[in-house]
Every structure is written in structure tokens, then in C-alpha cells.
């Protein structure tokens, strides 16, 4: 890496050298974008994901078939011009339902990931910086959460709080908040451990010591020197979490604990289709492909981001 710089640079680097001062200023964000663009799979993934997002955002405005338009004469019809993704057992248009449900699935995935990362990084960073008793207490908490039987607890939480949130924020927003909290609240532990371990190794690095010697406060050491260097693993963990959150939401919907049955999230569609796999396999394939594509593209984007944000990688 360092060998790329010819030795003559040192020789020519005297105070009298007449190299242009402050030549071409490239902002870090632009530079990161340029490096991201070098990552072919990440760019393709970004385009696919963005078009999926665009589709679920503006799609329902263009494809004006109602999601609950029951038509028994068109039960379980395969893809056609009238119904691009076919119809379900009640003759409802799957394409319309997927456009609508995609909003919720994507939003749940991203919001739950943000929450898991936020809580995980905060807990991990505090534990990693303070060590001693605070660290021990926070790690107990992490282990406690890891050892909790999640499904029974989810049931309990949802029974306890669903009605309160529903009355406070309305049925859809209320359930959305609850599901994000529940999924995010059970996914932060691996991130916390990851961040804590990184902190333990990074805080002993000489550049952190140098910052301390320069009189940097603990906050500055963490924010400027330690956190940016934990970014890579956290981004990867985050992309995995998006996938896991979308799948977790499907599980909850399946158990009847997620959104009400009449809200067709991708997970819900998938589970509704399970009894008709032999006669209407397209019904499972479209939502399945959507989840698969989302998870895959987010993983590639995560890879690209990690490389783009790491200046050591030659791109």
C-alpha cells in the first residue's frame, strides 16, 4: 500500500518545492460516492432497490385496483394483463396488494434496522468506553436479552401494548411502532457486542493514544477516532438486520400478531399463499422474490458502502 508512493516524493517534498498549493479539493462525500460507483454489484443493487422503493411509493397511485376488491369469478388466476401477478383465493389482485404491502415491509425493515443499530452502537460504545462496572452491567443486560425466549415475550408484549398504541396512534401507525420497537429491541445485542469488542481493540491503538496526548476529550476520541473505525462491521450487521427484520415481520404476521390480516405485507402474502402452493405457486413466488431481492440488494449495498467508506481500500 504505502509502497505505491515513489521514494522520490520525499526528496521533492522540500519547502522550496513548487507543487500547486491546495489543488483539486474533493469533498469526502463525493469521494465516497466515486468509490461506491466502482462497486458494480452495489450500484446495480442500489438501482434495483431504489426502483422497488419508487414502485411501492408511487405504484398505488398509478395501479388503481383496490387491494380488497373481491372478485370470486377471478379466483386463483395466474398472471395476466388484467392481474400482472395473478389473483389470490378471493380474487384480489396480488400486484396491488404487493405494492401496498411493500411500503410497510420496507419501512419496517429499515426502521427496525436503524433502531437495532442505534441501540446496539450506543450500548456497545458506552460499555467499551467505560469498562469496569458499567461495562459489566451492560453486558449482563445484553446477555439477558440474548437468553430471553423471544417468541413468548413477543406475544406478551404485543398483548400488553397493542391496544394502548392502537388507540394512541391509530391501528396502522400504532402497530408499525410496536413492531419496529419489538423487532429492533430484540436485534441490537449482536451489534452491541460487536461494537464493544471493536472499542476494546481500537481504544488501545496508538492514534487514539495520540489524540489523548493532544488533549482530546473522551467524547472526541470516541466520535472522531474510535467510532468511524468500527463502521465496517456495523454496516454489514445492519444490512443483515434489515433482512432479518423483514422476515421477522412476516413471522409475526403469520402468528396473527403483526398488522391486521387485511393489511397485506409481503410476509403476510407469503403465508397466505402456503395452502395453495400446488395450484397457485405464483402467489408465493412474487412476494418471495420481492423479499429475496430486497435482502440481497441491501447486502450488496452494505458491502459497497463499507468499501467506499474505508479509505484504505484502493478503488
Amino acid at each position: 500500500m504505502a509502497g505505491l508512493i515513489p521514494a522520490s516524493v520525499i526528496a521533492s517534498a522540500g519547502p522550496d518545492s513548487t507543487l500547486p498549493v491546495r489543488a483539486r479539493h474533493v469533498s469526502p462525500a463525493r469521494e465516497a460516492w466515486r468509490r461506491f460507483c466502482r462497486h458494480k454489484m452495489a450500484v446495480v443493487s442500489l438501482i434495483i432497490l431504489l426502483s422497488m422503493v419508487l414502485l411501492v411509493v408511487v405504484g398505488p397511485l398509478l395501479w388503481k385496483v383496490a387491494i380488497n376488491d373481491i372478485d370470486f369469478s377471478a379466483r386463483l388466476k395466474g398472471p395476466s394483463w388484467a392481474h400482472p401477478f395473478g389473483t389470490d383465493d378471493l380474487g384480489q389482485d396480488i400486484f396491488a396488494r404487493m405494492l401496498y404491502g411493500g411500503r410497510i415491509s420496507l419501512a419496517v425493515g429499515l426502521a427496525a434496522m436503524m433502531m437495532a443499530i442505534l441501540v446496539g452502537v450506543t450500548v456497545g460504545a458506552i460499555a467499551g468506553v467505560s469498562r469496569g462496572a458499567v461495562d459489566a452491567a451492560l453486558m449482563w443486560l445484553t446477555d439477558l436479552f440474548l437468553s430471553l425466549p423471544q417468541l413468548p415475550l413477543l406475544l406478551l408484549l404485543i398483548y400488553l401494548f397493542r391496544d394502548t398504541l392502537k388507540t394512541a396512534f391509530g391501528p396502522e401507525v400504532g402497530v408499525f411502532i410496536m413492531i419496529v420497537l419489538v423487532i429492533g429491541g430484540f436485534r441490537w445485542m449482536p451489534v452491541a457486542r460487536l461494537v464493544r469488542a471493536q472499542f476494546f481493540s481500537l481504544r488501545e491503538k496508538e492514534y487514539v493514544e495520540a489524540a489523548r496526548a493532544l488533549g482530546a476529550s473522551t467524547f472526541r476520541q470516541v466520535v472522531r477516532h474510535i467510532l468511524p473505525n468500527t463502521l465496517g462491521p456495523v454496516i454489514v450487521a445492519g444490512t443483515i438486520d434489515v433482512a432479518a427484520a423483514i422476515i421477522a415481520e412476516s413471522t409475526l404476521s403469520f402468528l396473527g400478531l403483526g398488522f391486521p390480516p387485511d393489511i397485506p405485507t409481503w410476509g403476510r402474502l407469503l403465508f397466505d399463499s402456503k395452502d395453495f402452493l400446488d395450484i397457485a405457486s405464483y402467489w408465493a413466488m412474487f412476494p418471495g422474490t420481492a423479499i429475496f431481492l430486497t435482502v440481497l440488494t441491501i447486502n450488496f449495498i452494505g458491502d459497497g458502502l463499507r468499501d467506499a467508506l474505508d479509505p484504505r481500500k484502493v478503488m
Binding site: A2, I10, A13, V21, A23, E209, A210, R212
Partner: protein, 324 residues
């Protein structure tokens, strides 16, 4: 005679080793075991010794990057050892450190400009963006780099250039004392010479004081006015550079000097081979730490009483019962 810039008084650092189920302290590593010395403004004191003898720990304790177990460090009339957090941060403007490994000591995610400029931001040394940039360019040029290097990342530089960046970072606060912790040990010999010359130029230009920690005796001889030799956490001999190299008194110094290679194959001299390894700093030997390997040790005296630094001749101090 002016008061010394830095005065270290009986500095001790023990690292506890936690063992057992309840994490109680079972043993301690005696990294630094009662080190005292003085350093005048504008002077360079070399500190030499084998790996693990406590050189680096001493340097870090002076800056309080490691909290000393006991002892005092006086810098410019202030007792560094009992400064509060805020005062200690302000103290960073006077004392700086250059690290051994130029690859580990620069944050890979920061540009060279922001690495050097960090101290300016922390201590609010510049008042406008323009001034900030100018100062960074000035620092880069002081250490023999140029303004163009400001927007690059550390990995784009060679080892020697990286060390120059580390030096520029230390210079940003215009310190009085710089602890050079093996500052040239990781570099090629030709680059070592460049960096040492740079350090000497800077000393002259800014009237810097160096505590130069190294294990390469010839480098230390070249740059230092005085040299302290450490063995297992203690200073065994301290003298002017010339005096120490021509007339070593402590048997350990003698052995150390006889190990310096002479680039002349026809030269013959007596090599003093020490027996055994350095004893563990967890259980250092009783009495004189060196008695287990010393060729001239005398039994009842050397293994019971630990020698203090005695003044032997002008500015030459040695910690040995039998010499000096």
C-alpha cells in the same frame, strides 16, 4: 543554573495482573520501579535498554497517558502527577509524543490535514478556516512535506513520510517537550537518518527538549547530550553521551555497549556475553535487579541491598555497589 524543565522523582508504575474468580490482584508487573531524572530545556536525554525494561512506560507516565502508581513528575514548575482532567488537557500544549509505529499511530479514516489540525481545533489555536489551513500547510512544510499532502490519507504515504506527519501533529501545539517513543525504530536506516536530522533541525528551530527513547545505541549516541540506561524498570547509569560511551561504569552498560556492531571486520574487541535471560518483571530479583546476570556480583551484598544512583564524576551517575 535554571531549574530543569522536567524533573521525574521516583516514578513507579506497577501493572496489576488480575487472577482468580473474583478478579483480585494476584501479582504485579513492575514496569517502572523508581525512576528519577532531570531534563533541562533544549536538551536531549536518550533512554536505552532492552525490550520490556520500562522505557516506553516511563515516557507515557510522564505524559500521564498511563497513570503512574506513585512518584512525581514536575514540568516547568507544575506537578503533572496531580493535575485535574482539564488542566491535564491544557498541559498537552506543552508536552507531546511521537510514536514508534508510523502505521498504527495515524487514524486511517482521517486526512493528513485533519490529523495535524486536530490539536488546533481542540485547543482553539486558530480563529478562521483560512488561518487553520495556513497553519497546517506551514506545519507540513516544516517537516518536509508539502501542502498538496493535506487532503490525502495516511495509507498513501511511506513509513518515513508517515513519521513526518506524526511529528507535524506533535508540533501543532508548539510544545516544549517531545517524548520520542522509539520514533525511528520502525524505519529503514536511510530514512532513520532523515528523520533524525529533521528532529535535530526542529530542536534548533523551536528550542525543543527531547526525551528520546530507543534501543539503538548508536542512534541515541548521535542525538543525545545525556543518556540513561534502564534495566528492569530502574535507571542503572546516567551520564553525558560521550562519557557513557567511552567510559561505561555499570557492568550492564558495558555489556550493552559491547553488543553494538562496529562496521569494521578487522576490529577485534572483547564481547561481554551475559548469561541467561532478563528476569520476569513480575518477580524482579531482590537487591540489585541485575545481580542474577552480573559478571562481578558479590553475593551477600548485591542480592540483598538495592543500589542507589551514586554520583561518580561530573554528571556521571551509576547504580552499582562495586563501581563508581
Amino acid at each position: 543554573m535554571n531549574a530543569p524543565l522536567l524533573k521525574v522523582n521516583n516514578l513507579v508504575k506497577h501493572f496489576p495482573i488480575k487472577g482468580g474468580i473474583f478478579g483480585r490482584v494476584s501479582e504485579k508487573v513492575h514496569a517502572v520501579d523508581g525512576v528519577s531524572f532531570e531534563l533541562d530545556a533544549g536538551e536531549t536525554l536518550g533512554v536505552v535498554g532492552e525490550s520490556g525494561c520500562g522505557k516506553s512506560t516511563t515516557g507515557r507516565c510522564i505524559l500521564r497517558l498511563i497513570e503512574p502508581t506513585s512518584g512525581e513528575v514536575w514540568f516547568d514548575g507544575k506537578n503533572v502527577t496531580n493535575l485535574g482532567k482539564t488542566e491535564l488537557r491544557a498541559m498537552a500544549r506543552d508536552m507531546q509524543i511521537i510514536f514508534q509505529d508510523p502505521y498504527a499511530s495515524l487514524n486511517p479514516r482521517m486526512t493528513v490535514g485533519s490529523i495535524i489540525g486536530e490539536a488546533l481545533t481542540i485547543h482553539k489555536l486558530t480563529h478562521s478556516a483560512r488561518e487553520y489551513e495556513d497553519r497546517i500547510v506551514e506545519l507540513l512544510e516544516t517537516v518536509g512535506l508539502n501542502a498538496d499532502h493535506m487532503r490525502r490519507y495516511p495509507h498513501e504515504f511511506s513509513g518515513g513520510q508517515r513519521q513526518r506527519i506524526g511529528i507535524a501533529r506533535a508540533l501543532a501545539v508548539t510544545p516544549k517537550l517531545i517524548v520520542c517513543d522509539e520514533a525511528v525504530s520502525a524505519l529503514d536506516v536511510s530514512i532513520q537518518a532523515q528523520v533524525i536530522n529533521l528532529l535535530e533541525d526542529l530542536q534548533e528551530k523551536f528550542n525543543l527538549t527531547y526525551l528520546f527513547i530507543a534501543h539503538d545505541l548508536s542512534v541515541v549516541e548521535h542525538i543525545s547530550q545525556r543518556v540513561a540506561v534502564m534495566y528492569l524498570g530502574r535507571i542503572v547509569e546516567i551520564a553525558s553521551s560521550h562519557d557513557l560511551y567511552t567510559n561505561p561504569l555499570h557492568p550492564y552498560t558495558e555489556a550493552l555497549l559491547s553488543a553494538v556492531p562496529i562496521p569494521d571486520p578487522t576490529m577485534k574487541r572483547k564481547r561481554i556475553m551475559l548469561q541467561g535471560d532478563v528476569p520476569s518483571p513480575i518477580k524482579p530479583p531482590s537487591g540489585c535487579h541485575f545481580h542474577t546476570r552480573c559478571p562481578i556480583a558479590q553475593k551477600p551484598l548485591c542480592n540483598t541491598e538495592s543500589p542507589t544512583l551514586k554520583h561518580s564524576s561530573d554528571g556521571h551517575w551509576v547504580a552499582c555497589h562495586l563501581r563508581g
